[in-house]
Subunit: 334 residues, 2 copies
Amino acid sequence: MKLALKQAKKGLGQTSPNPPVGAIIVSSRGSVLGSGYHHQAGLAHAEIDAIDKTLANHSARQLKNSTLYITLEPCSTCGKTPACTDSIIKHQFARVVYGCSDPNPAHRGRAKQLLSRGGIVVTSCILHQECQALIRYFTKAVTTGLPWLIAKSAMTLDGCTTLPAGQGPWITGKEALNDVQKLRSQVDAILIGGATLRQDDPLLTLRGNYSKKTQRQPWRVITSLSGELPEKSRVFTDIHRDRTQVYLNKSLRQVLKSLAKQGIHSVLLESGGKLLANALKNDLVDELVFYYAPLVGGGDKHAVQLNNLSKALYDIKGKKFGADLRIRGLIKRC
Amino acid sequence: MKLALKQAKKGLGQTSPNPPVGAIIVSSRGSVLGSGYHHQAGLAHAEIDAIDKTLANHSARQLKNSTLYITLEPCSTCGKTPACTDSIIKHQFARVVYGCSDPNPAHRGRAKQLLSRGGIVVTSCILHQECQALIRYFTKAVTTGLPWLIAKSAMTLDGCTTLPAGQGPWITGKEALNDVQKLRSQVDAILIGGATLRQDDPLLTLRGNYSKKTQRQPWRVITSLSGELPEKSRVFTDIHRDRTQVYLNKSLRQVLKSLAKQGIHSVLLESGGKLLANALKNDLVDELVFYYAPLVGGGDKHAVQLNNLSKALYDIKGKKFGADLRIRGLIKRC
């Protein structure tokens, strides 16, 4: 299952509106015959990708009686691709081991039933937490109609998001900036407010290594109440301008609902402290990623402009990026 | 030298106006004969403590020709105790190895000269950085006339020092609060402003385990411009009230200078964001210790109320205390 998880991660940020899934096929003698993952919506599901890869090097007879390890319960319905359960039964697998159940209540457990009826031994909930964490964007979207929202901010150790006037725009160093590129490569959209557009005129694109590794640029979403959005902003004029969406006079919840309806399951909020506070207050944030520079004090802006309200976090992890520190945690829901 | 450092640390926070020092005596055959450290000012220096401990179990003949490892260059002047160099020569050590030189420019290198003249082989600068770090409070005081100032603050991940109204006074958990007790046990004084006294009426004492391990309570220093200090405050009325000092209408630099003159070489600033900002602005802070609770947002107070100025840190270290994170770093001087 660890190998299957590794496969699944290759599709992270590329598969919406489907979840990332990985699969490994192991022979009855215990050797790995093949592996696969879901590359992007419309292409083969992970189990089919793994079967295809296996059949490229082995005969159908060798495939027979082997075990399929897959991070997510196989699909049992025809969508853009045929139901995977049919294919698994057809290839006469002896056993299917999956990490977590389909989060969609309408489908959950159906594959287990169908496969068992087809004479296949089914084991579920292996590395359950890891497999669930991998599809949390998808789970949030299909169960709530809202995307998974990651709020990212870079600040000094005391929470200032700007340097003193004239000391440059970047608080954090290049290792942290590079990690932001990685974050962007794993989400479907980046969201900012009109204020950030006016102040920073950001590109919000994948650049450098991350633009090569992935075909797809994340959506760039601007939300504004005033509608004052400079026409010459780079998000409206660069080569990726068809990947920019604007929402005027909508609540943040309305914006996020609309994005989820388009199959956008993960959104990176790269806004200032006001919009972030709004998102926290309205219980829309799922995850925080804060980068801390080795500085104390700064300009006059704070990372979160949230007055007299606090939210608890859990599953907090720290990691160094050059001289900077990244703290990542999930927001507790009551 | 590592063993000597371990000995020295036993005296941390107890030796001012002397530095903490540790010593190990090793025979010509390579076995440890004895160890010692400087317990407190007026008592034996580390090398004399180690010699006494050795002579309790061994003859003077066994001591002869052994090696003395000591974290700091031995003293060469008569103070409250006789010069250690005389004692080292008298006991006919073959070799003296010390970690760092005396930071006092008037004494630096003198022991090396005297011991060499006495026929003893002298090696210096062994584990130099660790030995220097150990006496940084002392070094700062003897070279600048100001104590080493550690600014401590507890906050949410975005720098708020208070919780929303009605959610209790403590941001951090008991493991972090216990670590603050350890910090207090290693300094000579704790400093707050009048505002903190009025708001929190803090005890500023060593409690629990730390009050047993150490004989001495740190000084409690209150600095106030307004002079509005409630007479019934606990620092004025509890059993340690003779360990409270008040400074009215003095600049922070004046307060710190006066403390250094009294032999107070390390001060823990446990103030609010205004006094901390003042200390940073006036280049008086040497070290920051920030505790972060797993929270975002809070009340309306920020850890550092420093507008349009930032200070860089180096040698930053992170450590978990329960659910909280401690970040500790040194302030860069230009």
